[in-house]
């Protein structure tokens, strides 16, 4: 059965490939950085040439752009004409439908014909129609959306009118010139040829594409005439670029001018479809990819298909049903043969020469038609519908709503909802998943001196508290409830109002305590927590020396140079976009062109400390700077005074000084820029060529930006090359991971003194870095390098070559960057705090209580990872930490064994609550090898948590795959960044966090949430519900079919195994299809065994799903037995009641049918845990529908439906008391065992779920008391289980109250003492 979906999926792919216009591309592997070879292979030999559509090469245009698609998109699968054949074709690729078709065909064979021909077709037709309607609706929705998009208006150059005219999106072609204004959406992938911005820059917002709200800068293709709008007719250049692909972050190509000059094109020149133009008046671009070839569409893969564990289990049982069916049919066939042989000549036999054996063989097939319902084929359709319903409720859960992002949970995979309830291992990324990924500058070290920023630490504490208060408002409400019964009462009585509280809790009552609204704190880069860094007084003091006239010492000034360079690097070594609320971003630079009045003075000042030899120059201002700056309070005033004396430039700038907004691609950058700003090294403007920096005591300086070597994960650093504004030297500022920079930072040759100094700085910095990591800070090193002009010239040439080449461009650029970033001078390092997300410790604790093992896979340093693990309570103080770091495979092997031994003896020792394994990337690489992975698994399996640090994306996925395959467990991977994509795809359930790092993870995930804490409710509540519901529904379906079909089977014993049925065949077919189909669906969507509150509070309940408690093999067979018993009762009670009477077949079948309907519906009532008015309505409706249908049918149907013409039967039956007597007795007797079993089971040995459900029914006071008791028992049983583990024999019970050894032996999960 697993083939079905594969076939279906494969077919969709085929269809997608066949159709000329393409549709959703098959879900390509999302590009990861680990597969660069793949891309370069794609590129070679496959290029696209684009020339202007209305340009000078008209004739050539047609041939060149023949293969290119138009911009109209069609995401629909079908057209109006092709719908029926295509849809049918597609549907018959499902095995279930083929089974139906086979039955229909079988019924056309005269010797085996069981029913009228049209009747066997009904199930097939109904299923086909239901699916077709679903497909059609989906397709129509897509069609409507396509129409809307295609009919958007864009301004396109028209040759006829010689100007730009409005046209629809779908008419845009490759080679068209498109003009867009601010806030317009880009209709196709275009090269930016012109921007109204003076610097040829344009900003786009990619929120539609990847959800990132910060602006991205795009620049005009170089060497194009600027200034005047370019005229398409004169566009002679041709563009060579790679063929359409789905890599959003890469674009390569070149533009060839008529003069054969080539200009390299890259991602910065490309405007992507469905992004929005911002802060740029007008731009013009030429379309290079259109329609389905755009990167946005290429990335748009449809929903994902995964098989859920439950369905795999179910497919097994369907096979059992097939076996059962074959057995029953064989029985009937053999019985028929024997029966025929014993009869010689009977008046009721139609003369026939067929031998009994052959007749038996025919009968076998007849019986397959008769008993077809036994295979619950409609189950597949039902499951699909139920899952849609479940997803509807998950998506509508208000608790998953994130106010700040205005986003809810996204369910991208539609068919694995129940897997959420069976997770055993959670693999989590750290940054951005457990933490906010909102970086806050915490402290720094410059030139070997540590500046602890105590004030700053205190400030962060305050924010944390406030935040916790706001976030935890609902939480405290709940915890208070467990302490005080009074508030608990209000909580439980009025649950609806509680969740309202959780929602509005942030704003309610906030005003009194914290006057500032919480909201801005959370929107990206604008929270005061990130912006307001409190400077370290000591550092401030040092910096103040800048303007002090008394400051002359060469040694001290050397340190000051470092300090200033350090802050300079913080301010400019980034790709931050600066804007102020009053002015659009690109105008900021305008200020820079205002010449500084006293530039000369400042230059002198700067040179004084930068080059100590010149420090004899007199300072320009004396009066103000003599003030004492030790106190923070006077700091600001002093600075402003300083600036004023500087000849204070334009006032507006000064006013907006506090309003600057930094938008950075990575949050670290913004944090550093804000930190620099706190020391008044303010980045005021950032353009392509120039930076405007305000330095303390010097006012605004324009820094010429020569190059930016952007960050990448291989180099782990970024650099800017600038012309120093004062010294006019070429300076490289580099910022990057400590491990990398430390290696690159070599002491400059020459002066002995400076060498030792560098050595000292390195030593000190390393020490501080280690400290930072221990504190859980993210560290970055800052370094610089001064280049001579000649060095720079040489480098520049080779770099230019690298930039323009198409092939191997990445490699060449990397090489070029590496040439530049050597011999660095270490300036210092920063420590950045990445705060934990709210409720992360609670969530992790809940998951662990739920029996889920949490692994953290991170690329961070070991110390940082351990620290975060402690902070989020993954590690407890009582935990025994096992660390695995080693350098070779042999060492690794030995280490693993050693750790095992350590664990074994650790287990014997009292006081440890568990083991945590910490592995670094290197060791992990060895451990994942074939011969060691067994040991590794064995070790990690016994650990409560595992932390893998310094791991690569590939390793992450390998670990997930290893655990999943070897331990046969359900895994869940959660992450937020591109480096988590492979892991998310490998795991059974992949969850993406839509956060600061773009949407790569979300795009490849099955579910996308916005905060880690949502995982708790998603798993514990929705997962539990979905699993229980679906498992119960599937069991119920099996039960229902077996129960009903067996009635027909028993009848065979009384009709000579001839394949007769005692019911009208319409009723027979409709019974499964109409009368009893809707209530199970509702049961599967709405049933709730335990309330959401209780499930959250008692995570242990999750274990029932993990252990597949609701759907075990034993449960299946018990259900089967019950079904067989019920069918026996349901057949034989009427049989004995009517035996020997003058009842005809239909009169006999009528009470059987009616009571089986009642039994089936009431069985569901017994099994249901909740009954709402909807249940009542549907159950009553189903019963009424059946009775009215049969009644009407028995009145109306005069000659229809031969041979079982129901005329008058049910009408007569239902007027007889005997009918009701039989129905009542049958129903009672059939349901008695299950009813009794449930009652006894629930009273004598109730499962945890039942206990929790019982708790739900208590009044709030008792509920609270019971909850506490439960938690105590849990804690006790946890220690108890430890004791059991250790002694591995009978338990010695120290606590006399605690006497339930038999239950304890069953495992730590049972909490039997609850009842004692």
């Amino acid at each position: 059965m697993e083939q079905i979906h594969w076939v279906r999926h494969r077919w969709q792919q085929l269809v997608a490939a066949e159709s000329g216009r393409g549709r959703y591309s098959a879900p390509d592997a999302v590009p990861t950085k680990s597969s660069p070879k793949l891309h370069s292979a794609q590129l070679t030999g496959k290029r696209r040439t684009v020339i202007a559509r209305h340009g000078p090469y008209q004739h050539e245009y047609d041939s060149v752009s023949k293969g290119c698609q138009g911009n109209g998109i069609r995401t629909t699968k079908y057209s109006l004409l092709s719908f029926i054949p295509m849809n049918l074709f597609q549907q018959f690729h499902r095995v279930a439908n083929l089974y139906f078709l086979f039955l229909v065909m079988l019924n056309w064979v005269p010797v085996v014909e069981a029913f009228q021909k049209e009747i066997t077709m009904i199930p097939l037709v109904v299923v086909l129609i239901v699916i077709a309607i679903k497909d059609a609706l989906e397709d129509y929705r897509r069609y409507r959306f396509d129409q809307k998009v295609n009919n958007n208006i864009a301004t396109i150059y028209s040759k006829k009118q010689q100007t730009y005219v409005d046209q629809r999106w779908q008419d845009v072609r490759v080679g068209d010139f498109v003009r867009l204004s601010c806030n317009e959406i880009i209709p196709a992938d275009m090269l930016l040829l012109y921007s109204s911005d003076l610097h040829g820059v344009c900003y786009i917002e990619t929120a539609n594409l990847d959800g990132e709200t910060n602006l991205k800068q795009r620049q005009v293709v170089r060497d194009l005439p600027q200034g005047s709008e370019l005229t398409p007719e004169n566009f002679h250049s041709r563009i060579e670029c790679e063929n359409p692909n789905n890599d959003l972050s890469r674009f390569r190509g070149y533009m060839e001018h008529p003069s054969n000059a080539r200009v390299g094109l890259h991602n910065d020149n490309l405007l992507l479809r469905s992004c929005t133009i911002r802060n740029t008046e007008t731009i013009i671009g030429i379309v290079v990819y259109a329609g389905h070839e755009t990167k946005a569409m290429k990335n748009n893969s449809g929903p994902r298909y995964k098989r859920s564990k439950l369905e795999r289990r179910m497919n097994m049982d369907i096979l059992w049903s097939v076996v059962l069916l074959v057995i029953m049919c064989l029985t009937a066939a053999i019985g028929h043969g024997l029966w025929l042989r014993n009869l010689e000549e009977a008046s009721f036999l139609i003369p026939d020469t067929t031998s009994p054996a052959l007749a038996g063989f025919y009968l076998f097939w007849t019986m397959i038609i008769v008993l077809q319902v036994l295979i619950p084929v409609s189950l597949y359709v039902s499951i699909e519908i139920v899952k849609l319903g479940q997803i509807f409720f998950i998506q509508n859960d208000v608790d998953f709503y994130n106010e700040y992002l205005d986003s809810r949970i996204q369910c991208r995979a539609l068919n694995i909802t129940e897997d959420l309830g069976q997770i055993q291992y959670v693999f989590s990324d750290k940054t951005g998943t457990l933490t906010e990924n909102k970086m806050v500058f915490r402290r720094c070290t410059i030139a070997g001196v540590e500046y602890p920023h105590e004030e700053n630490a205190r400030r962060l504490e305050v924010y944390k508290q406030e935040d916790d208060e706001a976030m935890g408002r609902s939480h405290t409400l709940k915890s208070r409830a467990s302490a005080k019964s009074l508030s608990c009462k209000s909580l439980s009585c009025n649950r609806s109002s509680v969740s309202l509280h959780t929602l509005t809790g942030h704003s309610e009552g906030e005003g009194e305590e914290t006057p500032s609204p919480t909201l801005p704190r959370h929107s990206a880069f604008s929270s005061p927590m990130e912006k307001d860094v409190v400077p370290d007084p000591f550092l401030v003091q040092k910096l103040n020396c800048l303007s002090s006239p008394l400051f002359l010492l060469a040694d001290a000034s050397m340190e000051l140079t470092y300090i200033v360079d350090f802050f300079m690097a913080l301010a400019i070594c980034n790709t931050v976009v600066v804007s102020s609320p009053n002015q659009p971003r690109h105008n900021r630079i305008g200020v820079s062109r205002t010449p500084l009045k006293s530039l000369e003075d400042i230059k002198m000042l700067f040179q004084r400390f930068s080059l100590p030899r010149f420090s004899t120059l007199s300072p320009p201002h004396t009066t103000e700077s003599t003030r004492s700056f030790t106190e923070h309070g006077s700091w600001k005033g002093a600075w402003s005074g300083l600036e004023n004396s500087n000849g204070a430039q334009d006032l507006p700038c000064e006013l907006g000084a506090d309003e600057l907004i930094y938008e950075a691609e990575s949050p670290d950058e913004a944090a550093l820029v804000h930190a620099a700003r706190a020391y008044h090294c303010t980045l005021r403007g950032h353009s392509l060529e120039r930076l405007l920096v305000e330095l303390p005591g010097m006012g605004n300086l324009a820094v010429r930006l020569l190059h930016i070597l952007p960050f990448d994960s291989t180099r782990k650093r970024m650099s800017v090359v600038v012309r120093h504004p004062l010294t006019k030297q070429v300076v490289v500022y580099t910022k990057g991971a400590d491990s990398v920079i430390m290696d690159l930072a070599e002491s400059p040759k020459g002066a002995e003194q400076s060498e030792s100094r560098q050595g000292h700085i390195r030593e000190q910095t390393q020490k501080h870095l280690d400290n930072y990591a221990r504190e859980g800070l993210r560290t970055l090193c800052i370094a610089k390098r001064v280049q001579t002009s000649t060095e720079y010239e040489v480098w520049l040439k080779r770099h230019a070559f690298a930039e323009t080449s198409i092939e191997n461009r990445e490699e060449l650029l990397l090489e070029s960057a590496q040439r530049l970033e050597t011999n660095l001078t270490l300036l210092g390092a920063t420590g950045i705090v990445d705060r934990l997300q709210e409720e992360v410790p609670e969530t992790i604790e809940a998951l662990q209580r739920a029996g889920v093992k949490v692994w953290v896979l991170t690329g961070d340093k070991q110390e940082t990872a351990i620290n975060i693990a402690c902070a989020c309570k993954l590690l407890r103080s009582t935990d025994h930490l096992l660390t695995a770091n080693c350098g070779s495979k042999e060492a690794c092997k030995a280490l693993l064994l050693e750790l095992r031994a350590e664990m074994e003896c650790g287990e014997a020792a009292e006081g440890t609550s568990g083991f945590t394994l910490v592995v670094d990337g290197r060791t992990l690489e060895f451990a994942l090898q074939e011969d060691l992975k067994g040991d590794f698994l064995e070790l990690s399996r016994c650990c409560r948590a595992v932390i893998c640090c310094r791991s690569t994306p590939l390793q992450k996925s390998q670990v997930v795959r290893l655990v999943q395959d070897q331990l046969q467990v359900m895994t869940l991977a959660i992450g937020d960044g591109a480096n988590d994509v492979s892991m998310i795809q490998v795991a059974d359930v992949g969850i993406g966090i839509s956060g600061q790092e773009g949407m790569q993870a979300v795009m490849s995930s099955d579910f996308a949430i916005s905060r880690f804490k949502h995982l708790r409710k998603l798993l514990l509540v929705h997962g539990h519900w979905c699993y229980t519901r679906l498992a119960n529904m599937i069991l119920y379906f099996f039960y229902k079919n077996v129960m009903y079909v067996n009635l027909l089977f028993w009848y065979q014993f009384f009709c000579g195994f001839s394949g007769s049925v005692m019911t009208n065949s319409w009723v027979l077919i409709f019974f499964n299809l109409l009368f009893t189909s809707v209530p199970p669906l509702l049961y599967g969507i709405l049933d709730k065994d335990v309330s959401a509150d209780t499930l959250i509070k008692l995570p242990e309940l999750y274990k029932s799903g993990q252990n597949s408690k609701a759907y075990l093999t034993s449960t299946f067979w018990l259900t089967m037995l019950d079904a067989i018993y019920q069918s026996l009762v349901c057949f034989f009670v009427p049989y004995f009641a009517y035996a020997g009477s003058d009842a005809d077949m239909l009169s006999f079948g009528s009470p059987i049918n009616a009571s089986s309907l009642l039994i089936i519906l009431l069985h569901q009532v017994i099994e249901s845990r909740t009954l709402t008015w909807l249940h009542a309505l549907l159950l009553m409706g189903s019963a009424l529908f059946y009775f009215s249908f049969t009644l009407v049918f028995s009145v109306v149907c005069v000659t229809c439906s031969p041979p079982n013409n129901p005329l008058g039967v049910d009408k007569l039956q239902m007027s007889q008391p005997l009918f009701y007597g039989v129905c009542a007795l049958t129903t009672m007797l059939a349901l008695l065992p299950r009813f009794l079993f449930q009652a006894l089971h629930n009273s004598i040995c109730p499962s945890d779920t039942v206990k929790a459900a019982l708790m739900d029914q208590l009044n709030p006071d008792d509920y609270c008391r019971r909850m506490q008791r439960w938690n105590q028992t849990q804690a006790q049983s946890k220690t108890r289980s430890l004791v059991i583990n250790v002694e591995d024999s009978d338990i010695k019970v120290p606590d006399p109250d605690f006497r339930l050894p038999s239950e304890l032996k069953e495992g730590s999960a049972t909490t039997g003492s609850l009842l004692s």
Binding site: E345, S347, G1059, M1062, S1141, G1149, G1221, A1239, S1243
Partner: protein, 369 residues
């Protein structure tokens, strides 16, 4: 223009409570509705079956079922029923000789008289049945072998019966009524005589109307219309193979009971559910004076015109006299079943009560403490 657009953006940003992508144009609030339905908080009844909760149900069922069972049992016991097998398997049986002929088409009819005596008088209307055993009227191919539209008087079906009737569809002319069911119509004639104590035989009047369902007689079965003379109507059709006379001669004396609407025929055509069955043959109506019983105690003779062969497949033929109550014929099963289920429920109720006291106590103690 640009400045204004920028300001708008900034307003969004600083407006407290503003959500959504800043300046993305559409400010849709995606917050799900906080309704009871969507948040799955519909008020619900949560039945958790425990010994305590199901206790009353068991007692109620017990207390309800036992009286019903007793009632049913008494009713069933009060119904008088008399049954006599006249197949003639035994050598001693009066119908033994008749039963030896297996053939359908004996022109010479064989008759036999079976004496019997009633120990108890039948007071009210008596229903006279014939019963057949080991006769699988519910065999799939037998059941199918009929044409309902022909029986409903459809002219075209009369001339060309349904294929389902094969091989009893046509001999040389189309067969009416076609099919195996009709072909095997029960054709014994049963008559009852009361033997007075003085030895004289009194024929008991047997009413042959009203034995079929009203809907069958008036809706489902119809003679082909057009002519009152059935002979004309059925012209061009032939009688079923095993029949001795054509369908329009089933009851020549009563045009309302002839042809397809002959009640004996209709009763036969309603195929029995189980291989041992009875079919209503005649009704003996209560005497109008109400003083003497319908069938007084005494000696009777059943006169059988023995036509129907059942020996070939080991079948049995019976004649049954039965009265009828509000819950049908005599059948003690239901009453006994009700009593049994009722008492089992009651006992289970007691067991549950003890379980409730043993285990439920813990719950309640826990709660009240």
């Amino acid at each position: 223009m640009m400045a204004s657009s920028y300001n708008a953006k900034e307003e969004d940003r600083h407006q407290p409570g503003a959500t959504g992508h800043v300046g993305s144009g559409t400010m849709t609030n995606k917050m799900p509705d906080n309704t009871a339905f969507k948040q799955q908080r519909l008020p619900a009844w949560q039945p958790i079956l425990t010994a305590g909760t199901v206790l009353p149900a068991f007692f109620v069922i017990g207390l309800l079922f036992i009286p019903i069972g007793v009632g049913l049992f008494v009713t069933s016991n009060n119904i008088k029923e008399f049954e006599i097998d006249y197949t003639g398997v035994d050598m001693s049986s009066p119908c033994y000789s008749c039963s030896q002929s297996y053939s359908w088409n004996n022109t010479k009819s064989c008759t036999c008289s079976v004496p019997f005596s009633l120990d108890q008088p039948f007071e009210s209307n008596v229903f006279m049945y014939y019963g057949l055993s080991n006769f699988y009227q519910n065999h799939r191919r037998y059941v199918k072998s009929r044409d309902d539209s022909q029986l409903n008087g459809d002219k075209t079906s009369l001339q060309s019966p349904s294929k389902e009737c094969e091989p009893y569809r046509s001999s040389d002319k189309p067969i009416a009524p076609c099919g195996a069911i009709a072909n095997s119509l029960f054709n014994d004639t049963l008559e009852l005589y009361y033997i007075d104590p003085n030895g004289s035989r009194t024929a008991i009047p047997l009413v042959k109307k009203g034995i079929a369902w009203w809907t069958d007689k008036h809706v489902k079965f119809r003679n082909p219309s057009g002519n009152n003379n059935l002979t004309v109507v059925f012209q061009g059709t032939s009688k079923p193979v095993n029949w001795r006379k054509p369908v329009f001669e089933l009851d020549p004396s009563d045009s309302d009971n002839n042809g397809f609407i002959n009640e004996d025929f209709i009763v036969w055509m309603r195929t029995a559910a189980l291989p041992t069955f009875r079919k209503l043959y005649r009704i003996i109506q209560k005497k109008p004076n109400n003083m003497t019983p319908t069938l007084p105690r005494g000696e009777y003779i059943l006169e059988v015109t023995y036509n129907y062969p059942v020996r070939s497949f080991d079948g049995r033929k019976r004649m049954i006299l039965s009265a009828i109550s509000w819950m049908g014929g005599k059948n003690p099963f239901l009453g006994i079943a009700y009593i049994t289920v009722g008492s089992v429920c009651f006992c289970l109720g007691l067991v549950l009560l003890s379980i409730h006291y043993r285990y439920g106590k813990r719950n309640s103690a826990d709660i009240s403490s």
